[in-house]
């Protein structure tokens, strides 16, 4: 390095000489390479056109780059939707709940009864607000739903139905109208597909959709979505050493 700094002229001279030799060498090799390359290309074209399995009668410009879908998929074409759109079905509860009384019939079937089986003979007690206030039946049931009392939703005049805030009776199947009285934002989001799970078609002109009901995911008595345990974990390659990396 010092020599180069001390005598730049000499360095330049050497460099020129090197360039000269290199240029001559590269000139020769260029000719050789050019000959070889042209032969390679010629032979490759010959070989490729000979071995290529595809007919080349269409010029590239005319070949369809991206095939255009001209007809609907089979299943969508064969079924015709009523007035152009398929339905959105919302799950519904089967009906009023049945209470398992812990006994079995002589045929071995579990016995269950309607709400009204017991409640028809009992006076409703408006003082009881939650399960902790009860001294018999339903005692073990968890209840954590704001400050609601049992009779905020259950109809004391007919325990096989619910009732709205204005005391209008409501079938158990119509429970979503009941929930929507308080949970308006959730209902708004639900109506726009932004709340609640679903299956089926995003495009209703091609197929139907099935949506969850409020009580499919939220227990009416303990509506907070339950905690879950993740069971599936992809084993990424980089995860092997992940635990050794300390994030702060």
């Amino acid at each position: 390095m010092t020599a180069i700094r001390d005598n730049p002229t000499k360095v330049i001279f050497h460099r020129d000489l090197r360039l000269d030799t290199a240029a001559r060498r590269s000139g020769l090799s260029l000719i050789a390479t050019a000959t070889a390359t042209s032969c390679v290309i010629g032979a490759a074209v010959l070989c490729v056109s000979f071995f290529w399995p595809q007919p080349r009668d269409l010029p590239m410009a005319e070949m369809p780059r991206v095939p255009v879908l001209t007809e609907m998929p089979q299943h969508a074409a064969t079924q015709s939707a009523p007035n152009g759109y398929y339905e959105v079905t919302i799950h519904q509860p089967d009906g009023p709940p049945r209470i398992d009384i812990g006994l079995t019939s002589m045929l071995g079937e579990k016995l269950n009864v309607a709400c009204s089986t017991c409640h028809a003979t009992r006076e409703p007690n408006v003082v009881n607000r939650a399960t902790k206030d009860l001294d018999e039946f339903h005692k073990g049931m968890g209840f954590s739903h704001g400050n609601l009392s049992c009779l905020a939703c259950h109809n004391p005049k007919d325990y096989d139905t619910l009732h709205l805030a204005d005391r209008t009776p409501l079938d158990f199947q119509q429970v979503m109208s009941l929930c929507s009285q308080c949970h308006g934002t959730q209902r708004r989001d639900y109506d726009h597909g932004a709340h609640g799970g679903m299956t089926g078609y995003w495009d209703l002109s091609r197929g139907p959709r099935v949506r969850n009901n409020c009580v499919d995911c939220h227990s009416p008595h303990q509506p907070k979505f339950p905690k879950m345990n993740p069971t599936f974990k992809p084993r990424d390659r980089f995860l092997e050493s992940h635990n050794e990396v300390h994030h702060d």
């Binding site: 905690k227 974990k233 992809p234």
Partner: protein
Amino acid sequence: MISSDATSDPGKNSLPILPILNNGSTRRTALKGVAVTLGLAAFGKALWPLTTIPENVSVSEFLQQHYKELTEEDKTAVFKRLEEETKQHYGASVSIADQRPIPGVKFAYAINLSKCNGNGKCMEACNKENNHHRGVDQSYIRVLEMSKGSLDLGKGSTTFDHTVPQDDKFYMPVQCQQCDNPPCVTVCPVEATWKEDDGIVVVDYNWCIGCRYCEAACPYHARRFNWEKPELSAEEVNPNQGYLSNRIRPQGTMEKCHFCLHRTREGRQPACLEACPTGARVFGNINDPESDINWVIKNKRVFVLKEELGTQPSFFYFFDS
């Protein structure tokens, strides 16, 4: 010089140029000889790649054209071959189709991070739907456990193994963001990946050379490499397959989320959305002003990941409580 020596006294020539030049060598015949030699060498060189075809690759697969240059007849033949190979290697009868974009449709996806609780059902559904390698439980989705108050993806954990959700965490599934300006497409040296009219970035698994540039280019770590031949039992194989989507990928190729195009281009919801028990996912046609996804983008405070990179994702996130 050499040729004139040979003409004057062939007996003294210790290095005869070619046997065919015995009846008097001239400059012309010497050059012809050189050309023939080089030509033969070049011909051999041109044929040489055929000798490098791995044992598990058929000649027709080796010579297969890029997806965009396949004619309808080619596609029929290619899909038939792939179906036969699946039958042979996995013992499963599958049907491989060519789902094309629906004209006028542009897909978008949104996830409600206030709802997602990190249960991972989406990853499991993806694994099953898309014929992923069961040995490593591969999935196109990665659910990150993030500390509240931070959106630093690098600090998200994917290895959490406890009851979810934790009070101080939120959960963010990350998969292909189907960018409108996709860096993975730009870097591909062989154009094996491209963006289609409905916004889905697809991969021609048979054209991909497995260089993994796209994996390095993706800011969302959304691309996966098939290090091994996927392991699947015949019962686990999803027979409803698409050439650009969930057919079983060959070893040594890249793959990525394709919004389940074999389902969504037929109008169905993606598998991860159907599997989500919290209803956190919203999918649909962003071009339809009445669609759910359109409403979400207009009415929720949506954001995209790493907006500053200019990738313009078609994938949105929002909190709403």
